[in-house]
């Protein structure tokens, strides 16, 4: 069953079109990722889903309720964690949690099962003021507060931005556990490597959805052969490589270069040879399977 459905939503701020006809569905019990760079329109979309903004056109439904007309009903079903840390810095961990439980007309005890896995790590610090917590702790507290009323749908706007790698991993493990408990989760992120942790993802760029699929589905749909090239001075070589006739696209990928071949006949040997001929000192060429970032770049270029 669809828990969230977004139908051709557009939204502009003045002359800037933040969203241009966005549509997708999130099924019940799904961990759905909204993947895109900063400024792609993720936060705007999240705010429309959480009833905080009205779309200019199109509509969105949460559990069958319209976010514009039936916002009161939607607000009782949602758990929302905004992009910025939005808790009371001058209240303690415990007080924040109790307050948000109270606001939603419940108590911490009532839904303790749901948050205990997250909260037990915070428990030693429960008297500490929220403002004095570390980034990872703050994020866990914010998640606890968003969950304390046992929402049907959890909306997380870039929850892992600015959090260290260990805390990020822990956080995704927590999301997996919550999913097991039947909560539908939609999470946005600019980290492409987090995409593979979702059940399904939507790639978003410049207010447009580039594709919706499972991470494997997205990767399998990559239409070209992809090679990873290690060479001297990759930044300099890039321009040279792009001008080659056998090259569809090339870009930096970590310390190496990713080379998108424009035909099926290319092999590492052919590419290495062509590169050497054009004056690039090649260390190695290997065929690799694409990652989400490759798919993202390819789809972006297709637009």
């Amino acid at each position: 069953m669809e828990k969230i459905s977004v139908n051709s939503i557009s939204k502009s701020y003045g002359n800037v079109e933040a969203l241009k006809g966005v549509s997708f569905n999130v099924d019940g019990g799904e961990l759905f990722g909204l993947i895109g760079p900063d400024g792609a329109g993720k936060t705007t979309l999240m705010r429309i889903i959480t009833t905080l903004l009205l779309p200019d056109s199109g509509n969105a439904k949460v559990c069958g309720y319209d976010v514009a007309n039936e916002y009161k009903k939607v607000r009782t079903l949602l758990g929302y964690m905004p992009g910025r840390f939005s808790l009371y810095q001058d209240l303690s961990v415990e007080e924040n949690l109790n307050f948000f439980a109270g606001v939603f007309g419940t108590t911490v005890q009532e839904n303790y099962d749901l948050i205990k896995n997250i909260y037990y790590k915070l428990e030693p610090f429960k008297k500490r003021r929220a403002g004095k917590l570390s980034g990872g702790m703050k994020q866990k507290l914010a998640l606890s507060c968003a969950l304390v009323h046992k929402p049907e749908v959890l909306v997380l706007d870039e929850p892992t931005t600015g959090v260290d790698a260990v805390s990020r991993k822990e956080f995704w493990d927590l999301l997996k556990e919550l999913k097991m408990q039947g909560i539908t989760i939609i999470v946005s992120t600019a980290y492409m490597d987090e995409a593979s942790l979702c059940d399904r993802i939507a790639l978003i760029q410049n207010g447009k959805i580039l594709g919706v699929n499972t991470p494997t589905g997205i990767i399998n749909a990559f239409p070209y052969k992809l090679f990873s090239i290690e060479c001297e001075k990759p930044t300099h070589a890039l321009e040279n490589i792009r001008s080659l006739s056998i090259c569809k696209n090339a870009y930096l990928f970590g310390n190496s270069l990713h080379f998108v071949s424009n035909n099926e006949e290319n092999s590492p040997e052919i590419i290495a040879k062509t590169l050497e001929e054009s004056g690039v000192k090649v260390d190695s060429v290997n065929e690799v399977s694409p990652e989400i970032e490759d798919c993202f770049i390819e789809r972006m270029q297709r637009q």
Partner: protein
Amino acid sequence: MKRSRFTDFVTKEYKHIWRDPRTLLIVIIMPVLQMLIFGYVVSNEIKNADVVIYDQSNDYLTNRLTQKLNASGYFRTRVLARKASDIGSAFRRGDAKIALVYPPNFAQNIKRLGHVNIQIITDASEPNTASILDSYARAVITSFMGEISGLGFSSSINIETQMLYNKEMKAAFMFVPGTMVLILMLITAMMTSISITKEKELGTMEILLVSPLKPSQIIIGKVLPYVALAFFNSLVILLMGYTVFGLPLRGNLALLLGVVFLFIILALSLGILISTLSKTQQVAMFMSMFALMLPTILLSGFIFPIENMPKVLQWLSLIMPPRWFLSALKTIMIKGQGLWYVWKEILILTGMIVVFLTISVKKFNIRLS
């Protein structure tokens, strides 16, 4: 369930106040300090003001009047002018800010014609001081008139002064109600507008909006602690005015507190209105400062008499809530009058509350932006 949700909210708001030293300073310490500062430092009472006497008669009556001026404690003869131009030069030197001109044949004219004119000249480069000195001098002359009529003169020194209820022009009568207005405006209007915009700025408003709380619950939960604080402060100010500065509490105390409460609600609705119009704490603060505090100080009649303002500003003062509050406060406290004499003020204040709250409710966003 609803009640507990609400008490949770109010409790949280109390914690915000108690844990922020700056807020605490503003709401607890400042009222007392301000009261004392107004009482002792910026007192408008002027003592031993230098005065120029230009006595063209120099008879027993004018001498007596001069003596009376000196004995009042408000004036001290600095210059005895011999010609009219001495007054101007004394003013220019800064020797005095007020001069009294007695006409020739003062005693004779009073006896024969039954009236004389006394001219009061003040240095109006400091209008406030000038008007105060002017009224002091008038008070002394009026009382002088009373004295000489007792001596069998049909006195009419043509000066119109009406200073009922406050013959000595005690400054406390003016600054205690005035300070109360300032404090209430500051604590209720400014602090509530800041505390509401703070939630917007920190992003917590986003979560509160997404919660099932109604906008009215959010607002009332946020302002309730400030109502209590403001009311407490009013009591402190009244008590200090009564004990430290000898302000009378002549009217009905319940009516007085009722009016105070009404004004607190009014200031609150202003604060809410400001918070719906501003996005950041800074904007809220500036709006409170410039849109509330300055008009309160300048146009309410707290410091500058409304009667002395240009017509346009007099009209403007009509829409200043503090003006009506001050008027009601003085009527009840100092004149000791009852409800019948302040119904107009109460009606106007209530009307303003309705207007401000209606606009606020219309403007309060159930969404972002």
